[in-house]
């Protein structure tokens, strides 16, 4: 355990635990867009910058992304100085120019007093904030079907060659993790569409309800040894079946008893 000061309050944390988690545990709201517990922190959105210093730094201080900075003994953390708020505001200002259609960005900007961007709206801008959450989650999943392509301002997230990604299994993890909901997908007539590809959804053999794609089920079967027939029936029908089975046993027991 280490002891730190966050906004003047002494707090305890596990050594190495990232500052952002500790800060949030204190109920302090530090914004972060690219952070997600399921993926390694990457520090791309810069919103979670905090100011740190130490007693022995003689007044010297620096800004660090709290999602990436491990807790250490004696750290003095400040999360909401006017300078930090100014940086966050300017970053949101930049985001607003890039992602004019994102409700989330718009809402966050408003919290910092921004109604419209001070900069030139980027003509080819979409709502992608390039936080890499999608590519990181796909990597954790073990597929890495999509990746960041090109560099700098021209960077986009895409499948290889800009084509529908061959390694995609249609699990939707990327779409769900995306903070600005920019990854389009749809389920229709037993088919899921995402990244320009279509995937067969497994229809429940009893009621026809669909949950995941066949490719995803195959992948789970192979990677995690889940028996294939587990995916044949939907959760609703499985529960009914369980009730019927258990009920049958109860009835049997009753008969035996009587």
């Amino acid at each position: 355990m280490v002891q730190m000061t966050i906004n003047g309050k002494v707090v305890k944390a596990t050594e190495g635990e990232m500052l952002l988690a500790v800060i949030r545990r204190q109920g302090i709201d530090v914004p972060a867009l690219c952070d997600h517990a399921a993926v390694e922190p990457c520090g791309s959105c810069r919103m979670c910058l905090v100011e740190i210093t130490r007693e022995d730094w003689n007044g010297w201080k620096k800004y660090v992304t709290s999602c990436l900075y491990p807790s250490e003994d004696g750290l003095i953390v400040t999360t909401h100085t006017p300078e930090l708020q100014e940086i966050r505001r300017n970053i949101l200002d930049l985001y607003m120019a890039r992602c004019p259609g994102s409700e989330l960005i718009q809402k966050m900007g408003e919290e910092y007093g921004l109604t419209r961007t001070s900069f030139k709206t980027i003509p080819e801008g979409d709502n992608c904030i390039m936080c890499y959450a999608c590519t990181r989650i796909c990597e954790v999943l073990g597929r890495s079907a999509i990746s960041a392509v090109r560099r700098g301002h021209a960077k986009v997230i895409s499948g290889p060659f800009g084509d529908p990604p061959p390694d995609c299994i249609g699990c939707l993890s990327c779409a769900h993790i995306c903070p600005t909901d920019v990854i389009e997908w749809h389920d229709q007539d037993g088919v899921r569409g995402i990244w320009g590809r279509t995937f067969d959804l497994i229809a429940c053999q009893q009621c026809g309800k669909t949950i995941i794609t066949r490719d995803f089920a195959e992948y789970l079967k192979e990677k995690r040894q889940i028996p294939a027939d587990y995916f044949d029936i939907c959760d609703d029908c499985k529960r009914v079946e369980l009730a019927r089975k258990m009920g049958g046993l109860v009835d049997q027991a009753k008969e035996v008893a009587s």
Binding site: G43, R151, H153, K155
Partner: protein, 617 residues
């Protein structure tokens, strides 16, 4: 032949020296990139041919030697006749016969090819007396231009690998680190971190594997000293790395060379092979317990890979995106192992420090920036090329005394130092002593020693826009302030250039610049606004001229200038043939006419006119 002891090394050195000195008279042709670009390879081959044909008593084919870059690129191809030090400049293939006949056979000087002192107008025969060389003190560049980079024997003859021998046999690793620390050597890559301290930290981290990396990704436009060192004296880089490996306990090293330097890769690879063949790399170096090998890792053309964490990711085969350096790479670097990363010039300096001692090195330069520094002089300066001078020398001495000042009778306006991370310093700062700290205080930085000189025909706003464009195309795109911020800053800067910006825009630019500085993830972003901020600091009036008066004082920004043809026009047709939009019409020997409506103000006509008949207003 494997050299497995110091004794053998010294014996071999004697042999090498004998061969090196056997040729009393030598014709040395510079084959550095600069001279190569001007055809020095043809000159070299022609010398071989002529000397072979003419059978001169004391000059054989072997006496025609090639070397790496000599530094004085402005006057290439360079030919030096030793032992007199006769220095011929701009030697063409057709000059070779004359040199052979007159100088080699007849011991006469050829005036036309000699260097002319800009101040006195006199011809200087001995290159040591040329101000460009006379003011220099070469440590890192000590062998550049004197040895054939492809011959390890040349390097050995000049005392090469003696420092390694000394370190391995007479010093403990700790003593090596202490010596480097005491020398005060600071990393030549830009930030100027104390080299000894870095080595000491790496050596202290508990780990079975440690890496030594040489950063040869000289990405700063305007800097070319590392290219020269790698291509002209590769063994001193290797020797520095091996000494470092011994000091910190590493078995594997990498040299990361940028893709744009194919010649350096070839030369380094040859050097590594030769060193390995002679037992100076590989298992049991010089018969001691040290085993260390070096691999070359070629870059892929990405400026951001000069940043240490990006470089290490690139060495590991991944996209060169930096990571937040809260755990320093010296503790957790390549493959998460402790890693020492220094740049080419730093490693090349190390053998000299070990050989001649820390006190000698610390006695050169200033107290906090010891030793010498190599500067690349380019842009609007007479003597373009490489110079190595003691730290603390003033910009004026470098630019005017050594560099010969601004050509074509124009006025000095600014010097850009430190590449895209640095800044532009105006004439008022020209007497600043150059070292790591003073440059940073003045709003620029040392960087890798690039100095691009600008004259009064340069627009400082346009220069800022240029650097921002460079950074926008080189940003990795990982974090927002750099990816989006530099882009917007560039757009705003372009708006100023176009005369469409307001003073509010300028305030927005300053606000944004600060956010980029503080908010960016790596050094590229953090220093990205420097070219803008430094030009704004010293040339705010130029920004205001664009904004308030819609004028470009440098006469560069297209939307704010017009071109016209004056009476000085002789009707030579040069401008007509070069105008890409066919805005100039006229006949031979008659004054030409420029249609301002068609003109897109590219300045091609201005560049080609030999009669100063094109006027910018």
């Amino acid at each position: 032949m494997r050299i497995d002891s110091i004794e053998k090394l010294e014996k071999w050195r004697k042999e090498c020296r004998r061969t090196f000195e056997a040729r009393k008279r030598k014709v040395i042709v510079c084959l550095g990139e600069g001279c190569l670009a001007n055809g020095s390879e043809e000159v070299f081959n022609e010398f071989k041919k002529q000397v072979a044909e003419k059978k001169i008593a004391d000059v054989t084919v072997e006496s025609v030697a090639k070397t790496g870059c000599h530094g004085f690129c402005a006057l290439g191809p360079l030919v030096i006749i030793e032992p007199d030090g006769t220095f011929y400049t701009k030697v063409g293939k057709s000059d070779v016969a004359k040199i052979v006949d007159k100088t080699l056979v007849g011991h006469e000087l050829i005036d036309k090819l000699l260097y002319t002192d800009a101040k006195t107008g006199e011809k200087v025969a001995d290159y040591a007396k040329i101000p460009f060389y006379a003011r220099q003190q070469r440590i890192s560049l000590r062998h550049c231009g004197t040895i054939d980079p492809h011959k390890i024997t040349d390097y050995i003859a000049m005392g090469g690998y003696a420092a390694l021998g000394k370190a391995l046999t007479a010093m403990t690793p700790q003593q090596v680190i202490d010596e480097v620390t005491k020398s005060g050597l600071r990393g030549r890559g830009g930030a100027g971190f104390a080299t000894g301290k870095k080595w000491a930290t790496c050596a202290k981290v508990q780990s079975d594997i440690r890496y030594v990396i040489c950063n040869g990704d000289e990405g700063d436009p305007g800097a070319f000293s590392d290219r020269t060192t790698m291509g002209s004296d590769p063994h001193s880089v290797l020797e520095g790395m091996i000494i470092c490996a011994y000091a910190v306990g590493s078995h594997q090293g990498y040299i990361y060379v940028r893709e744009e330097y194919p010649l350096a890769v070839v030369t380094l690879q040859k050097a590594i092979d030769a060193a390995r063949e002679h037992g100076l790399l590989g298992e049991k170096i010089l018969g001691t317990d040290l085993s260390f090998d070096i691999k070359i890792s070629r870059g892929g053309g990405a400026f951001v890979c000069g940043e240490s964490s990006a470089l290490m990711r690139s060495v590991a085969g991944a996209v060169g995106e930096p990571r937040a350096k809260y755990i320093r790479s010296v503790i957790k670097g390549l493959h998460d192992r402790p890693t020492v990363l220094n740049n080419v010039e730093t490693y090349a300096t190390v053998p000299a420090i070990i050989e001649r001692g820390a006190d000698w090195f610390a006695g050169i330069g200033t107290k906090k920036s010891t030793g010498t520094k190599v500067f690349s002089l380019a842009g609007k300066i007479k003597n373009t090329g490489l110079v190595e001078v003691p730290m603390g020398i003033t910009l004026r001495e470098i630019i005017f005394d050594i560099g010969g000042g601004v050509p074509d009778g124009r006025k000095f306006k600014a010097v850009q130092t430190g590449g895209p991370s640095g800044g532009c310093l105006p004439e008022s700062k020209i007497d600043l002593p150059v070292d790591f700290d003073t440059l940073t205080e003045a709003g620029s930085m040392m960087g890798s020693g690039g100095m691009v000189i600008m004259d009064d025909r340069t627009c400082m706003v346009e220069v800022a826009r240029y650097f921002l464009s460079f950074l926008v195309s080189e940003s990795c795109g990982k974090c927002v302030p750099c990816r989006e911020g530099l882009y917007q800053l560039r757009e705003l800067c372009a708006k100023v250039c176009d005369g469409e910006a307001t003073e509010d825009d300028l305030a927005l630019m300053e606000r944004l610049a600060k956010t980029i500085q503080v908010g960016s993830l790596c050094g590229l972003g953090q220093s990205g606004p420097n070219p803008f901020l430094s030009t704004l600091l010293y040339f705010r009036d130029e920004y205001l001229a664009h904004i308030r008066d819609k004028k470009c004082p440098g006469g560069v920004c297209r939307k704010l200038i017009t071109y016209s043809i004056t009476d000085a026009c002789t009707g030579c047709m040069a401008c007509i043939s070069v105008c890409p939009v066919h805005a100039i019409t006229g006949e031979k020997k008659k004054r030409h006419v420029l249609d301002t409506n068609l003109c897109d103000r590219c300045g091609s006509c201005y560049a080609v006119c030999k009669f100063e008949a094109i006027e910018i207003s």
